[in-house]
Amino acid sequence: MLVALRAALIRLGAAVTVGVWRLGYGARFFVYLIVHSGTAFRRFRLTMREIYFAGVLSLIIILVSGLFVGMVLALQGYETLQRYGSSEALGVLVALSLVRELGPVVAGLLFASRAGSAITAEIGLMKATEQLSAMEMMAVDPVARVVAPRFWGGVISMPVLAALFSAMGIFGGYLVGVVLIGVDEGAFWSQMQAAVDVRNDILNGVIKSVVFGVAVTLIAVFEGYDAPPTAEGVSGATTRTVVTSSLAILALDFVLTALMFTGGA
């Protein structure tokens, strides 16, 4: 009995210690990464390549998902709004929910699973095949040469993808709401324009997407850099990237929403 309790306590303590240690290591890694980001901007072509892999190649999934999310929002929103005889407010519903929440969050989740996992797997495999050690041998800092361009590429791509997701979603809402269902086109756009504020809604959405971009790519590069250099280790790290960054996005979204949209109006 006592032995079992002791063992349980040891496991708990070890789990907490490892968690805190990894958190501290992650934070130090983040600071080191920021300090050694010079190369990513001096040789911007490296970052450009990563924007291509993380951003451009994610375009299809982001655009198609945005379109369908907007179309579903319009269908579902219309069902509810027409009960209250205010189906003209469909534009407001679609635009506000996309710009404030769904754009940054869903684009972030897709980005984490599409680009984040790829970044982790790539860096993890480079570590497992000792490419990172080889760079160190040649006095090339792998964080500056490999990690920082991937980080900044992701951070730059994420707001662009979120904006595209929102725009595409609103277009999807327009297709279903106005073209298919037949909500009045003038009311759809004018009510949307009256309700959506550039600073409060759109800018806050962009800020959210930047924060998610930093969180997702940091987790992705850290998990890759920290992965055990085995096939199993890399696969575990890839899974952890998707799980951790999805949870981070949802938790950060709650905090940011509480900060942005509760005060004032």
Binding site: Y52, G55, V99, V160, S166, Q193, V196, D197, A265
Partner: protein, 159 residues
Amino acid sequence: MNRSAIDLWVGVFVAIGLGALLFLALKVGNLASFSTAQTYQVEARFSNIGGLKVRAPVKSAGVVVGRVAQIRFDNESYEAVAVLTVDSSYKFPRDTSAKILTSGLLGEQYIGLEAGADARMLAGGERMRITQSAVVLENLISQFFFNKAAEGGDAKSAK
């Protein structure tokens, strides 16, 4: 994939991203109207503002001419003070009246301005003297019942 192809695609990517932001700002958010325009502030006091919120529109003849910038309670006169930000390109006479109105049956509340006839115009920081409070449904209903009761009493006494 050679270099120039990557550059091209990244260029296209960033360009359509900026295009999407521009679309959100102009078509969805309507940046063009108001945000940079010159404004002046006037004050209006109401005995009850109902459900009026900060950032609610200020309309005159149905056209949005400004926004509600601030709402506070005056502890001296026990009135609500609404500070209105009005676009400088619109001038109103000093005896303009402010009413709290509702758009539609369930819509949001806004302030309607009705221009007066005074030769002098409202300047920044001035107060609108003539105001009409929000219609509170409960007051309206109780008024209706009192009127009905009074009618019933009259009918009885007339017999």
